[in-house]
């Protein structure tokens, strides 16, 4: 509490500027910086090309684009599941591309991820799934119960703690995945199509959860192609991927278009 998210700005370059020596200076509050990032799987053509942007700490960002545009690939780079084929990625001020592998876990613990397919551990209870990041971080058992119970209540699953994921509905599983992603109070929350499997009402409630988290200071990055959803978050910025390239990363592609002179 006590954190008021400033209206975030998404700093970036147009595609034509990519690779230019005159890269724009990023603000000190930038928590994520991509510079001329390219990603290629095997010998295929590049999935992501010349992606450059920076995200301000405490911002709320939507990443949109058609299916196959490279949203999931970009998020994978962001949550350190993948290294880029080229370019520089800085997280929390450090170049994570050249970072030794043994230092990556420390960075991953600062990033919460809501996977498109939830990736809940099927043989663990809802409670244990949510507690997982705290246990990975080495928190003592006596200190785990309170935050997990609080999180269960926060996502409206207070009475389902001992249930197995398979017995939950899609929306409930989604909320467990979100609770698991945010319980460690990550500095960045990355969500890949978090509303893809839920109805409109649940999508709105999930977004409310994200906004609440954002107000606590967490930088939110949500990949979605649900434009009406984007319109619900007034403070958010939108990045659009088109065939692996970031187009107009300045926020002017907001939906609905931001009125001239607004924030």
């Amino acid at each position: 509490m006590g954190f008021t998210a400033a209206r975030p700005l998404c700093h970036g370059r147009q595609v034509g500027e990519a690779g230019s020596a005159k890269a724009p200076k990023t603000r000190m509050s930038a928590i994520v910086q991509f510079e001329n990032v390219g990603l290629r799987y095997g010998l295929d053509s590049e999935t992501l090309s010349d992606v450059s942007f920076s995200l301000a700490s405490g911002g709320f960002y939507f990443l949109t684009g058609a299916s196959g545009a490279g949203k999931t690939s970009l998020l994978k780079l962001l949550y350190l599941a993948q290294r880029p084929s080229r370019g520089v990625i800085r997280l929390f001020g450090e170049d994570v591309v050249t970072l030794p592998r043994k230092r990556l876990p420390g960075f991953r613990r600062r990033i919460g991820v809501v996977f498109q397919d939830f990736r809940l551990v099927p043989h663990l209870s809802v409670y244990d799934n949510i507690a997982l990041p705290l246990r990975v971080a080495g928190m003592e058992e006596a200190e785990i119960d309170a935050p997990v119970s609080e999180m269960l209540n926060w996502v409206g699953l207070g009475d389902r703690g001992q249930a197995r994921p398979a017995t939950l509905s899609g929306g409930e599983q989604q909320r467990v995945a979100i609770a698991r992603a945010v319980i460690g109070r990550p500095e960045i929350l990355v969500a890949d199509e978090p509303t893809g499997n839920v109805d409109a009402d649940m999508a709105r409630r999930l977004l409310t959860l994200f906004e609440a988290l954002n107000r606590l200071g967490t930088t939110i990055v949500v990949a979605t192609h649900d434009l009406p959803l984007i319109a619900q978050v007034g403070s958010a910025q939108m990045m659009k991927l088109d065939k692996g390239r970031l187009s107009d990363p300045t926020g002017s592609l907001r939906y609905p278009p931001r009125p001239p002179g607004a924030g």
Binding site: Y79, L80, A81, Q82, R83, R101, K102, L104, P105, G106, F107, R108, R109, R110, V113, R119, V121, P122, H123, L124, D128, A131, L132, P133, R135, V136, A137, E140, E141, A142
Partner: protein, 304 residues
């Protein structure tokens, strides 16, 4: 937090960690394969150690022993010569003991092959004198005795016991080394089984591993989960195989004793050998744990 609370917390944390991989300890063929391998390893090791002990006992027993033969067809001359040779041996400094073999005992020994004719007196049976030499330089002492006895009569021969039992001792020694080789091969095979099992377990829990990995779990944290699971499987298999092998060894030991054969009863296991056998299942658990850790760390090393 009190020490009691801290211990309870550690237990709870351990229980939570153990839940990360699905429960069901004796799942899959690995514990049973390890049980079979441990059974064979313990039997091989017991055979190797037993034969080694037999060779050692035989060597200690035979070192410094020899038999003097008086090959004289005429019984009266043979008796006289035997008495003088025995007397000469008793006065030799490096001969510790002289035991003339009684003709009746000798006849008993050859009766199974020659029948009653052996004791009829018609067959010229040599007189035998068993001697024990003082410790050390047995070969040189036997050579000196040979010269000395040849001077008494060319019909007197001396045979060190080690010479005619050397091929048997060599065979037992070879069998002992063979058993050691089998133990080594079984250990390698056990390690290979564990590596395969760890890979299979790693693949089947890939989803959980990926999630843990992306949450910031270190390779060592993840490897520990597999180490524990495979260590427990190895403990079960090792204990089972060891117990069954132990029963077989005890039963075989009883059968060997029942034969009454001096040679077979020499195959025994001193307490140090039992300690080595008991260390085998412990070694198996350690080997399995290390192999699992190595395998999982290698697999994880391929991830980002």
């Amino acid at each position: 937090m009190s020490p009691f609370d801290r211990a309870a917390d550690r237990r709870a944390a351990a229980a939570a960690r153990h839940r990360l991989l699905p429960e069901g300890r004796v799942a899959g063929p690995m514990p049973w394969i390890i049980a079979i391998m441990m059974f064979l390893t313990v039997l091989s090791a017991a055979a190797g150690l037993g034969l080694g002990a037999a060779v050692q006992a035989m060597g200690a027993d035979l070192a410094g022993r020899a038999t003097v033969q008086i090959v004289e067809a005429n019984a009266d001359q043979r008796d006289r010569l035997s008495a003088s040779v025995a007397q000469a041996l008793r006065t030799t400094a490096y001969v510790r003991a002289v035991h003339p073999v009684a003709p009746a005992a000798l006849a008993d020994q050859i009766r199974p092959w020659l029948g009653q004719d052996a004791v009829s007196g018609d067959l010229p049976i040599p007189a035998l004198i068993d001697i024990e030499l003082t410790p050390g330089e047995t070969g040189a002492k036997v050579d000196r005795l040979r010269h000395q006895l040849r001077a008494v009569s060319p019909k007197v021969r001396i045979e060190p016991h080690a010479a005619f039992l050397a091929p048997l001792a060599g065979l037992l020694s070879t069998l002992g080394w063979l058993a050691a080789g089998i133990v080594l091969l079984m250990s390698l095979a056990t390690g290979a089984v564990v590596v395969l099992a760890a890979r299979a377990a790693h693949d089947s829990h890939r989803g959980t591993i990926d999630v843990l990995h992306l949450m910031g779990a270190t390779d060592v944290q993840i490897a520990r989960l597999f180490q524990r699971r495979i260590g427990l499987d190895a403990l079960f298999g090792g204990a089972l195989g060891f117990t069954v092998a132990l029963l077989v060894i005890v039963l075989l030991g009883a059968r060997l004793l029942a034969t009454g054969s001096e040679l077979l009863t020499a195959i025994h296991l001193p307490w140090t050998d039992w300690a080595i056998l008991a260390a085998l299942p412990v070694g198996c658990v350690l080997l399995a744990t290390l192999a699992a850790r190595w395998t999982v760390l290698r697999s994880l090393g391929r991830l980002l």
